[in-house]
């Protein structure tokens, strides 16, 4: 595959690993923010290639995991309504709400469909004027432009039967919240390349300077991630704290201005609760007043559905690197992958789920060096 296989080259990867080993003189804790990067790290076994004193902490950047229980419960309530076609990206279907998930709703008669793009949901709305079509708009800044476009398109087409349940979250406020949290161990960040492709990275020097942390804009292929880690370590070892763009083939300083314009029109900033972490001020987007009629929360009046997250869950501490998953009192007891309390147990790549599934096998280093 052109432009992919080049960034998965085994020999180049080994060379980067050697450079990382040479550059590292003491323990460091680095957080990759984006769930896509976490996926790539696990998928490619990058965590097993790093020197043992470099710890990667998986950040809160998986939209599936951080969507608060309350929003999931609202989605489930809407999806169960007669006359509604509820559209979602595939991996949201399995995320448990208080007492069920979208698969359960589907099995009991809800019309729940997996789509690949919010624009598919707009098309469904055109094809089914007799139905209410609702799209579950979750995700970070990366998925937001397509969602904004869908809402904008629905207005242009005069579609009265399309709406969106929005739970967008934003990366920079999450980074700030982690840095300001008590007992934070994270010393540097790999910034999410695709978020930056939309938003640029003008927001990051403020964070980097104020909290004295290197922030390296990083891509998703194995070589991108290894290179991002290498750049981060070089800064850490020299005592520097700068913003660096290690994903230049995709990311520019200003990002995608057209997309930003549309986002500013369709969405507005709001406080947002993150599953297992709590409310982070101004860390989300919701549909702006100008587009309120497309807001599913408004249309279906589900805002009064309130869900309290389990007080037992300490996924916020896990995300900050303050505790290991098995140090949480709920781990493996009240909280398991089939009945997760917090973000880090919801996703199979989340730190808690990984510990639960493979904890007894974590020491596979000897095999890696076989």
């Amino acid at each position: 595959m052109k432009y992919l296989s080049e960034f998965r080259d085994g020999e180049l990867a080994q060379r980067l690993v050697r450079e990382i080993r040479q550059a590292t003189s003491r323990p460091w804790t680095i957080m990759e923010v984006c769930g896509g990067q976490t996926h790539s790290i696990i998928r490619n076994g990058i965590d097993r290639l790093l020197p043992s004193n470099v710890e990667m902490v998986h950040g809160p950047g998986c939209p599936v995991c951080v969507t608060p229980l309350e929003v999931i419960d609202r989605a489930l309530a809407i999806a169960a309504l007669p006359n509604v076609i509820f559209c979602s990206f595939g991996d949201m279907l399995r995320v448990p709400g208080t007492d069920r998930d979208l698969f359960r709703v589907k099995s009991t008669g809800g019309d729940v469909r997996i789509v690949y793009s919010p624009l598919d949901a707009v098309n469904l709305a055109r094809q089914h004027p007799e139905k209410q079509v609702v799209f579950f708009g979750v995700g970070f800044e990366t998925t937001a432009p397509a969602n904004a476009m869908a809402v904008h398109l629905a207005r242009t087409l005069g579609l009265e039967n399309f709406s969106m349940l929005v739970s967008h979250v934003l990366v920079p406020p999450a980074i700030r919240a982690i840095l300001e949290s008590e007992g934070n161990q994270v010393q540097a960040f790999l910034a999410a390349g695709h978020v930056c492709s939309v938003m640029g990275y003008r927001q990051y020097p403020l964070l980097s300077e104020r909290y004295r942390v290197p922030i390296v804009v990083t891509g998703f292929e194995p070589l991108d991630i290894l290179n991002g880690i290498r750049c981060t370590l070089l800064q850490l070892e020299k005592g520097e704290a700068r913003v660096e763009n290690a994903y230049e083939r995709v990311v520019t300083l200003d990002g995608n201005r057209e997309a930003q314009k549309l986002l500013a029109e369709v969405f507005e900033e709001c406080d947002r609760a993150w599953r297992g972490i709590g409310v982070i001020p101004r860390s989300g987007w919701r549909i702006s007043p100008a587009y309120r009629e497309f807001d599913a929360e408004h249309r279906f009046q589900v805002s009064d559905i309130r869900t309290i997250e389990s007080p037992l869950c300490r996924s916020g501490d896990v995300l900050r690197g303050a505790i290991k998953p098995n140090q949480c009192p709920a781990f493996g007891k009240e909280c398991t992958p089939r009945n997760p309390l917090g973000a880090t147990m919801v996703s199979s790549e989340g730190a808690c789920a990984a510990y639960y599934n493979y904890g007894r096998f974590v020491q596979i280093q000897e095999l890696s060096h076989a």
């Binding site: 595959m1 992919l4 998965r8 080259d9 085994g10 990867a13 080994q14 690993v17 984006c34 769930g35 896509g36 996926h39 696990i42 998928r43 490619n44 076994g45 990058i46 965590d47 097993r48 290639l49 939209p63 599936v64 990206f89 595939g90 991996d91 949201m92 279907l93 399995r94 698969f103 469909r113 997996i114 789509v115 690949y116 598919d120 979750v138 995700g139 970070f140 990366t142 998925t143 695709h194 194995p222 070589l223 290894l226 992958p337 089939r338 199979s348 599934n357 493979y358 096998f361 596979i364 095999l367 890696s368």
Partner: protein, 351 residues
């Protein structure tokens, strides 16, 4: 898949071009369906008696029996039909325990309104698949459900085969050191189905790998000897990953595979990439995995490669004494990852 371009339906289509409730009612319409559609396609002496059950000669060895139901959607997909799957699926299940498949039953659940021409195409594919696999369809049944209560056509097949007395193949015989061989490119079937599934259509030339594995399994057993071929499986739902998991859990070993050694077509890999799917978890319908003693691995591999269904066979890993019950993969860049157990179907990722 047989050439259907010149296919014409043998039924008198004037009256009923579509299935009506009466086709499952046991009367004249049922009988016409059997006489004009099923019998000509599946013709064999056991079926010709049209009794309530078929009487078959007792074979030498132990009897193996396996059943499977087929509800694939769409019914016709690139590289095959539900009919091919219904025959090959059961043939393959029998073959993987070292049985020679002999006979199949075929049960149809048809939805009222289902086009008889579509049924005829499916039945023709079943007949051709059975001929290729060397099995006979010796009994059958048809029921019709009201419109809206089915998905066009469901098929159940039960297969009977025979296992020689000395052959005992299964995961419990897998030992550490066993070499793991896969018979060819993985993930083609699942991605072929995806490419035509409603709402997901994308242009591709990926074809389902649907095929009967009994002859390949026979060749493999002959080359390796039934005492040194420890386990065989066809990695269908859940893909290669689920199959390796099953074997690791049911035996006393861990499994270590080399990801770069797993054969995957470029186009299939790209389609997986596009949809955010891991090809290791995507279904196959004409591939097998074998765990064999290292002393016969090379012989088995070359015998498989000489077979039309095993041309791209490859050694992908070994069974190891460590990490019992677990599947590990050495990744293309030299790292290691744990192949996780999936809770259900693999779902496309948001990001």
């Amino acid at each position: 898949m047989p050439d259907l371009s010149t296919w014409s339906c043998p039924l008198p289509l004037r009256d009923y071009p579509n299935i009506v409730m009466g086709h499952g009612g046991g009367g004249q319409l049922s009988s016409e369906l059997v006489q004009h559609l099923f019998l000509p396609a599946f013709s064999n002496s056991a079926l010709a008696n049209l009794g309530d059950a078929s009487v078959l000669a007792r074979p030498q060895g132990r009897i193996a029996i396996s059943t499977d139901s087929f509800v694939v959607r769409p019914l016709f997909f690139p590289g095959g039909t539900i009919g091919d799957l219904a025959v090959n699926g059961t043939v393959n299940d029998l073959s993987m325990i070292g049985a020679t498949p002999l006979y199949l039953s075929a049960g149809f659940i048809l939805e009222e309104g289902f086009p008889i021409s579509d049924l005829a195409r499916i039945v023709a594919c079943m007949a051709e698949a059975a001929r290729l696999a060397g099995v006979e369809i010796v009994t059958g049944d048809t029921k019709v459900v009201e419109r809206g209560h089915g998905d066009g056509c469901y098929i159940n097949t039960t297969g009977v085969g025979v296992v020689p007395d000395q052959v005992n193949i299964g995961p419990s015989r897998v030992c550490s050191g066993d070499v793991i061989i896969v018979s060819g490119h993985i993930a083609d079937h699942g991605m072929a189905i995806m490419s035509v599934r409603e709402g997901l259509e994308f242009e591709s030339s990926i074809l389902s790998d649907c095929a009967p594995l009994n002859d390949l399994a026979r060749v493999l057993l002959q080359a390796g000897g039934s005492d040194r071929v420890h386990a065989m499986r066809d990695p269908t739902r859940g893909g290669l990953a689920a199959t390796l998991q099953e074997i690791a859990s049911a035996s006393d070993v861990g499994v270590l595979i080399e990801e770069a050694a797993v054969p995957i077509r470029g186009e299939t890999r790209s389609a997986c990439e596009l949809l955010g799917l891991d090809p290791l978890f995507v279904a196959n319908e004409g591939k097998m995995v074998a765990f064999v003693d290292p002393s016969v691995a090379n012989g088995v591999l070359s015998a498989m490669r000489n077979h039309p269904l095993g041309r791209d066979a490859a050694i992908i890993g070994t069974a190891v004494a460590e990490r019992k019950g677990m599947v590990l993969a050495k990744t293309a860049i030299g790292g290691h990852r744990v192949i996780p157990i999936q809770l259900g179907e693999q779902l496309p990722r948001i990001c």
